[in-house]
Point group: C2
Chain length 233, copies 2
Amino acid sequence: MTGEHSSKQYDQELEAIRSKVLLMGGMVETQFEAALECFRVGDSARADRVMADDQAVNQLEVQLDDACSHLIVRRQPTANDLRTVMASIKVITDLERIGDEASKIARTSKSLYERGGSTFAHYDMIKTIAKATCELLHNALDAFARLDGKQALELIAADEGIDHEFRTILRNLITFMMEDPRTISSALDTLWVAKAIERIGDHAKNIAEYVIYVVEGRDIRHSKPLATEQPAP
Amino acid sequence: MTGEHSSKQYDQELEAIRSKVLLMGGMVETQFEAALECFRVGDSARADRVMADDQAVNQLEVQLDDACSHLIVRRQPTANDLRTVMASIKVITDLERIGDEASKIARTSKSLYERGGSTFAHYDMIKTIAKATCELLHNALDAFARLDGKQALELIAADEGIDHEFRTILRNLITFMMEDPRTISSALDTLWVAKAIERIGDHAKNIAEYVIYVVEGRDIRHSKPLATEQPAP
């Protein structure tokens, strides 16, 4: 039923979806980096741009979901191709949420600087987690672009370091707040930013897991054994 | 190509997916309510059960994604049926994350009570947001079960009330912490619980949006117009 011409067109359609997912990935990466810069130096106009860009990311999510549906209807992909489409549908959701978190960082930065900034080095507190998470996101998108299962597997461990760093930040901020209650508002802003970064790390880890699903055809999410046989109804 | 027998089987398969999504919905609802009860009265064994139940929810996510893939390959659904499958894939992700948030509430409750509880009425602070979010989640699952687009549309507005309530809680907790820095640790625990509830509200809203997508065939997510024509590259 499928001639050479139509099969080539099919490959192009699948590739177009993958490229657009990567475009969306590049957009949220830029958004995330810009949001961190807003938190570092405070730039109200730039924070507004980060939030405005989120609308474009959201539109791309809707377009891409639609493209995936259409491809399924018209091309009826099987096996490996279907895994690519399924993984794309999931990755799109994670990318959209990364965009949301970047917007939250921009919004929080804006309100922090509007209240006059903080009395402590708030950016230094999140520098390590921010750097590790930027790298994780970049590498997860890279693994998705090259469908590199080995790289993806390595990234999943990197997310644990991010969670650990988040708990360190939390402890430090609690100490700050206890020592000087006047820092509470800006310490909480820093905490929201750290939390948003930690979540971006989670989403990047999800992307790495979907790469493994595409490449190896196995679903490694939640791969620990069941603790209970049957949950309460 | 499709005889009456096989068409009936197809309907049954699609219905089986929908029922299993609803089963998963019921599981996370129970998990969420149990987690809130842990936060109210402190029950370490129960908190452990909530966290253990999350593994069963996670397994169901993987099974359901797999069932959706198989249905797409073997049945090649079109139009309305494909929308149902696509919406199920997305709803499953939201349900799994609701389970994650419920686990976090259980874990936070456990650590709060292990440190001797709080000196303020921590449960009262989140009572209103908890009640509104339980209702929203229940109604969103109900709208999904009955494919009721009208009900789903009403729910989306309800989520705004939840976000507003969260900001009120945040302000109150900041006041507490400023007045008495010894409350900081338990105030932060209360804040994490409130934040997890607010996120569960977001996920419930997502489910309502997917119901509208199935029923009306239009994607109402991010339905505001684009603020920028083209995002920065």
